[in-house]
């Protein structure tokens, strides 16, 4: 009790210096939560966007399908097993057929991926409906804005596509771009040409077949896929994305670290320097009969008290600031658009309880440790040595 009382006396007595430190720490705390909230918001957005636009709630892959090996695509398609077919009929899954192809925009060859999709599917947020009921002979095709920019294709343009059918025979035809979609998710945009699955099945001579099936989110029961089909959970599918996100967000982690470091530096200043300055005071306390563990405890608690007060002040500053940033979001600079993962136009931070409580705890604990270390060194001195040093 005495320790608490004396610590309060000491830090209140130190006046301005105390408050400066507490304010710096509180600001750092709020900034850390804000930056980390942005990172978390970004992460959540990326993941959700990926699930909504590309992954669905999990997938079944043809046994031989390997998204990283385009050569595998020609071998990896089959009719869905009866159990999977039933899912498709119930609208809980939708088939995707994938075929490597070459396109010739402006006469130059470029490789692309033909993706057959059911125009009526509602499992991923691709505007497939535009592929329905197109008149004329040309195959209707949907591409993303980045793909359009890269190939200089616009709505209504025709482009020649060459592919190999199931027998290995090359074939070619024109597709007509019927829509350019704006999507934040690069994986359904860059290099992708979406056409109706029935047309692709005819082109490849693979009636009723698919390379993979997308599942609806939260379907009650995942059936056995049979020999030809392997279930891929969402966790499995997200692994790569998470890896990319982690890699992309390294800089943000560094910012987090730097901010924390700044805050601790403020405490480092008050503690290391002030403990040094206060050597004589420490010696006096010991001469007056204060036990050295108690002196250590006192100074450590003074540091911790900075942390506690900073958390309190941080709460007062933080609630309006964090609420405001949460409500209005933050515009994302254009230059981030080739990030390789989904980037929103406006970023809304996500402030979880674990983030807020965790950061407050990290600050409290680090402040306490940073306070303990220097004073534990001084109190190990003999009182006579401490008394000799520093003017108080």
């Amino acid at each position: 009790m005495l320790t608490i009382r004396l610590a309060f006396r000491n830090i209140m007595g130190a006046g301005l210096r105390t408050w400066l430190n507490i304010i710096v720490l509180a600001l750092v705390l709020v900034m850390i939560i804000w930056v980390q909230g942005l990172i978390d918001g970004m992460r959540e957005y990326m993941i959700t966007a990926e699930i909504n636009a590309n992954l669905g709630g999990g997938q079944f892959w043809h046994r031989d399908y390997d998204p990283y090996d385009p050569l595998s695509y020609e071998e990896s398609h089959a009719p869905p097993s009866p159990a999977l077919q039933e899912l498709i009929t119930r609208g809980e899954a939708t088939p995707i057929l994938v075929a490597p192809a070459a396109i010739y925009p402006e006469g130059r060859m470029q490789s692309a991926l033909l993706k057959g999709i059911d125009p009526t599917q509602e499992i991923i947020s691709i505007p497939g409906r535009v592929l329905e009921a197109q008149d004329g002979d040309a195959i209707p095709a949907l591409i993303g804005a980045q793909m359009a920019k890269q190939t200089k294709l616009g709505v209504g343009d025709y482009v020649t596509v060459r592919w190999r059918d199931a027998n290995g025979t090359f074939d070619a035809d024109d597709v007509r771009i019927v829509e350019i979609m704006h999507t934040p998710v690069p994986s359904i945009d860059v290099g992708q040409i979406w056409i109706p699955i029935e047309r692709l099945r005819i082109m490849l001579q693979t009636p009723g077949e698919a390379s993979l099936l997308l599942l609806r989110k939260g379907i009650p029961e995942i059936p056995e896929g049979g020999d030809a089909w392997v279930h891929r959970s969402l966790d499995y599918l997200l692994k790569d994305i998470l890896e990319i996100i982690r890699f992309r967000l390294v800089t943000s982690r560094i910012i987090y670290g730097l901010l924390l470091f700044m805050g601790l530096l403020a405490i480092f200043d008050t503690q290391v320097l002030s403990v040094w300055r206060r050597r004589k005071e420490i010696g006096t306390l010991m001469a007056l009969g204060m036990e050295r563990d108690r002196v250590t405890g006192l100074f450590t608690f003074e540091g911790a008290l900075h942390g506690i007060l900073a958390v309190a002040l941080g709460t007062v500053i933080g609630i309006p600031v964090l609420y405001y940033t949460f409500a209005t979001g933050l515009p994302v600079p254009e230059m981030m658009s080739d990030f390789g993962v989904a980037i929103p136009q406006r970023l809304y931070p996500s402030y979880g309880i674990p983030l807020i409580v965790g950061t407050a705890l990290v600050v409290l604990v680090s402040v306490t440790v940073v306070s303990f270390l220097p004073v534990s060194r001084i109190t190990k001195l003999k009182p006579t040595d401490a008394l000799r040093g520093g003017r108080s």
């Binding site: 005495l2 004589k280 007056l288 204060m290 036990e291 050295r292 003999k382 008394l387």
Partner: protein
Amino acid sequence: MDDRPLITTHDLVKQYPAGGGFFTALNKVNLSIQRGEFTGIVGPSGSGKTTLLNIIGALDYPSSGSTLVIGTDTQELDHRMSARLRNEHIGFIFQTYNLLPVYNVYENVEFPLLLLGMNADERDRAVMQALEWVGLTDKVRSRPNQLSGGESQRVAVARAMVKKPELVLADEPTANLDAENSHNILRMMVRFNEELRTTFVFATHDEKVIAYIRRKITLNDGMVVEDRETKPAIH
């Protein structure tokens, strides 16, 4: 009343490592100081006065020999017990006052009583009485940096006396004070010595202090070269 000496040292030696060998700061010091003495340890600079005072106050340990202070062998005390000995029985007065800078006068004087765990009423009474002794009741709320040197040292005296210790150790208490303040402080100490039977041991080479003491122990190169009663020149 207990008629054993308050302080006894036996063949006290203190050596500091210096260069490759040792520097001997105290060399076989044998002393005995009775309760109620008003004693000065004098000698040239570097003769070992502060070292001796610190060992008596259990702030430091001798290299060999022993010290008995208020019935306890200070060499047998761990840092916890020596802290308790200082807190309960010994008052310190330093040349540089050593007030706690963020505490006001009242809080500085109150501090040893907080360590003793005294209750609030008793504490308040004792603090106010000590401040009355040193004539600073009008400065209770002042901070050390608002006090003159003489006032600061009076606060330090009040802090040392507030718990009515058996022993007060004062290392050059007047070195930073002018003549008037020095006499003022010394007269207070004589009064405490006479009225409360507090034992005072000074380390000093200040003639003003020497004029008040009743026993003069002279150190030179860490050895007691003279130890005699003196007639206080001033009362």
